[in-house]
C-alpha cells in the first residue's frame, strides 16, 4: 500500500496516545507540510513515497474491538500474546495445575484444554473492550513500567504493524517499526514557500 512520510518523521519516533512510532499519512500534502528546511540557505523539503503493509494489519483506535479486522483478531488470538499479557494469571494456572488434573490419564490433553479455555476467556475479555485505544491503555496499565514503547512492542510482536488514528489532518497511521515495515520507493524534494524554517 502506498503512503507518504516526511523525512524528519521517518527518522525519529514519536510518542502519541496510540503508541510509539512514526506517523504516516495517505495525503502527500500532509507529509510535505510536516517537513522543514533551513532558513537563508539553499535547502529543500524532503518527503518520501513509501510502501507499507496492508491497512487490515493495523489496530483501529476509534472502532470498537468487536469491529476490528479478522487479521487483527488472528494476531490477538495468538497464544503468545495472551500469555504475555496475562502473565501472572497464566503462571498461577500453571502452579495450580497439579491439583486440578485428574490422576494419570490424559494429563497432556487435559492441560492443553485448560490453557485453551484460559486463553479463550482472556481473548473474550480483550474483545469486550469498547475501543482500540482502550486496549492500548489496558496493555499499558498491565505493563510494569507503564512504558508505551514496550506496549507497542508487545503489539508488534503479536503481528500488529501499527495503529489507525485520527487527528485534525484526517485519518493517519502510526507505524511501530519503521526500519522493518517501511519500504522507501521514491524521495521527493522541493523548496516549499510556506514551510517551517529553522534558522
Amino acid at each position: 500500500m502506498e503512503a507518504f512520510i516526511s523525512y524528519d518523521k521517518y527518522i525519529v519516533k514519536e510518542t502519541l496516545s496510540s503508541g510509539v512510532g512514526v506517523p504516516v499519512s495517505f495525503d502527500e500534502e500532509i507529509a510535505k507540510r510536516e517537513s522543514c528546511r533551513r532558513r537563508n540557505v539553499e535547502s529543500y523539503n524532503q518527503w518520501m513515497l513509501i510502501n507499507i503493509p496492508d491497512k487490515s494489519l493495523f489496530l483501529d483506535t476509534e472502532k470498537s474491538m468487536k469491529y476490528q479486522t479478522s487479521e487483527v483478531f488472528q494476531c490477538l488470538k495468538s497464544r503468545d500474546f495472551i500469555m504475555t499479557l496475562f502473565l501472572s494469571e497464566a503462571r498461577r494456572l500453571y502452579v495450580s495445575m497439579d491439583s486440578k488434573l485428574s490422576n494419570d490419564e490424559d494429563k497432556g490433553d487435559e492441560a492443553k484444554r485448560l490453557f485453551a479455555d484460559f486463553s479463550e476467556e482472556k481473548f473474550n475479555n480483550v474483545i469486550s473492550l469498547p475501543s482500540g485505544l482502550d486496549l492500548i491503555n489496558f496493555i499499558n496499565e498491565r505493563c510494569r513500567s507503564h512504558d508505551l514503547a514496550k506496549s507497542s512492542a508487545l503489539l508488534y510482536a503479536a503481528g500488529i504493524k501499527g495503529t489507525l488514528y485520527n487527528d485534525e489532518k484526517g485519518q493517519r497511521l502510526l507505524m511501530f517499526n519503521a526500519a522493518e515495515d517501511i519500504e522507501p520507493i521514491e524521495t521527493r524534494k522541493e523548496a516549499l514557500p510556506d514551510s517551517k524554517l529553522i534558522l
Partner: protein
C-alpha cells in the same frame, strides 16, 4: 567514458588543488554559476556517511565543483565508501546523465571526482595490521594522502534509492563474508538516511548554529557591558587589518563578499553585500589571471577568518562557549616526580619549532565535527 568509481589517486601534487580552484572559478564565472554571488548560499557541505563538514581549503574546491556541474547540494562521499555501497555513477545510465546535463547545468555536468588532500601524512607503518579497526569509514581506514570525493548528485538516483532500502541492505550483506564489513555497510546506509535529512533541515545542528550566531554578534561589539574594551573584538580587528594591508583592491572585494557568504551559510544571519555581483566576478577573474594562486589563497583566507569569528572570544581553537574556554584554560597542579624513571629509553626530543609546526597543522586541518567533544547530540 571511464565510469568506474575512483577510490584514490596517486601522484597528486599539493599545488594541484590551487590550480584546480583557479580553473573551476574561471569556469563558474563564464557559466554564470559562481556561488558567491547567488542570493542564497549553499548549505554547509556534509559527509553523508558521518555528518562531518570539511574545514579547510578542500571545502572551497568542493563548493566550486558543485556550482560548476550544477549540483544543488553539497552532500559528498568518499570514493571508497561509494564503492562499498555499490553506488553507480551517472555515466552508466544514459537517461539520468542526459537529464542531469540538460536540465541542471546546460551541458557542464560531469562525473569526475574532486581530489582532496589529506593534511598530515599519518604514520602508516603503525597500523598496517587491523587497518579496518582503525576507523569506521573505509576511506579513512586506508589513510591515504589524497582521496577522491564524489558529490551525491553524481550518482544515479536509482542506485542511491537501492542503497537506502533497509530490505536491500540485508540482502546485500549476504555477499560479504567478513562480519566487520557487514556491520560497516549497514551502519553507513542507515547513517546516510539520517544525515541526508539533517543536511536540509538542520534540526540537530540548530543549537550549534545559535551559539555561532551569538559569538559573531559578541565578537563584533566593540565594548563589553561594563564599558571595558572587548578583547576579542580588538584582536579581530587587528587580524582583519593585517589581512587588509596585504591585499590589493580585488582581493579585498572578494574577501568581503565571501565573509558575508560564509557567515550566512554557517549561521543563517543575513548580512547585505555592498559589492555588486559584477564587481565580485571581475575581481575573481582578475585574481585567477594572476597565475600565482592568489585566488585560492584569498578564498581560503576569507573562509578561515569567518570560521574563526564564529568561535567564542575569536579563539583559534574550536571553542563555542565560555564554559568550554574555562575548561580549556584549566591550570593543573604540578605533579611530583617518580622515584624511578618509568622508561629506560632516552626519548628523542623534538625540535621546538618542528613541534609547533605540527601542532598548528593539526589544529588547522582537523575536520570540523558537529558532535564535537560533548558526545553525541
Amino acid at each position: 567514458m571511464d565510469s568506474d568509481i575512483k577510490t584514490y589517486s596517486l601522484g597528486v601534487m599539493s599545488s594541484d588543488i590551487y590550480e584546480n580552484i583557479t580553473s573551476l572559478a574561471i569556469a563558474n564565472v563564464k557559466q554564470g554559476t559562481l556561488p558567491y554571488v547567488k542570493s542564497l548560499p549553499l548549505p554547509q557541505d556534509m559527509n553523508i556517511v558521518n555528518g562531518r563538514h570539511l574545514g579547510d581549503i578542500n571545502k572551497i574546491q568542493l563548493e566550486l565543483k558543485a556550482a560548476k556541474i550544477g549540483a544543488k547540494s553539497l552532500k559528498w562521499i568518499y570514493g571508497a565508501d561509494a564503492e562499498l555501497l555499490q553506488l553507480e555513477l551517472k555515466d552508466t545510465d544514459p537517461v539520468e546523465f542526459q537529464a542531469a546535463s540538460q536540465q541542471v547545468s546546460k551541458g557542464n555536468f560531469d562525473c569526475e571526482p574532486v581530489v582532496v588532500l589529506a593534511n598530515t601524512r599519518r604514520n602508516i607503518s603503525k597500523s598496517t595490521l587491523n587497518i579496518s579497526h582503525e576507523s569506521d569509514i573505509a576511506a579513512e581506514g586506508m589513510q591515504m594522502d589524497a582521496q577522491c570525493v564524489y558529490l551525491l548528485d553524481q550518482f544515479t538516483d536509482k542506485s542511491i534509492q537501492k542503497a537506502l532500502k533497509p530490505q536491500n541492505i540485508e540482502k546485500r550483506l549476504e555477499m560479504y563474508g567478513d562480519p566487520l564489513v557487514k556491520r560497516q555497510v549497514k551502519a553507513i546506509s542507515q547513517n546516510m538516511i539520517t544525515y541526508m535529512n539533517e543536511y536540509d533541515s538542520g534540526l540537530r545542528e540548530q543549537g550549534h548554529r545559535k551559539l555561532m550566531r551569538d559569538n559573531i554578534v559578541s565578537n563584533l561589539t566593540t565594548a563589553n557591558k561594563d564599558g571595558s574594551v572587548n578583547k576579542a573584538n580588538k584582536e579581530m580587528s587587528e587580524v582583519y587589518k593585517g589581512l587588509k594591508d596585504q591585499f590589493d583592491d580585488s582581493q579585498k572585494t572578494v574577501f568581503k563578499a565571501l565573509n558575508k557568504y560564509y557567515t550566512k551559510q554557517n549561521t543563517g544571519l543575513d548580512i547585505k553585500r555592498i559589492e555588486t555581483d559584477k564587481e565580485v566576478e571581475d575581481s575573481v577573474l582578475k585574481l585567477a589571471s594572476l597565475n600565482n594562486f592568489k585566488l585560492a589563497e584569498t578564498l581560503s583566507e576569507a573562509y578561515f577568518f569567518t570560521d574563526r569569528s564564529t568561535h567564542y572570544g575569536f579563539s583559534f581553537d574550536r571553542v563555542y562557549t565560555e564554559s568550554e574556554q574555562v575548561a580549556k584554560d584549566k591550570v593543573l597542579a604540578p605533579q611530583a616526580a617518580r622515584f624511578m624513571p618509568k622508561e629506560k629509553e632516552v626519548q628523542r626530543l623534538m625540535d621546538q619549532k618542528e613541534r609547533e609546526k605540527l601542532r598548528e597543522r593539526e589544529r588547522e586541518f582537523k575536520p570540523r565535527s558537529m558532535e564535537r567533544e560533548r558526545g553525541r547530540f
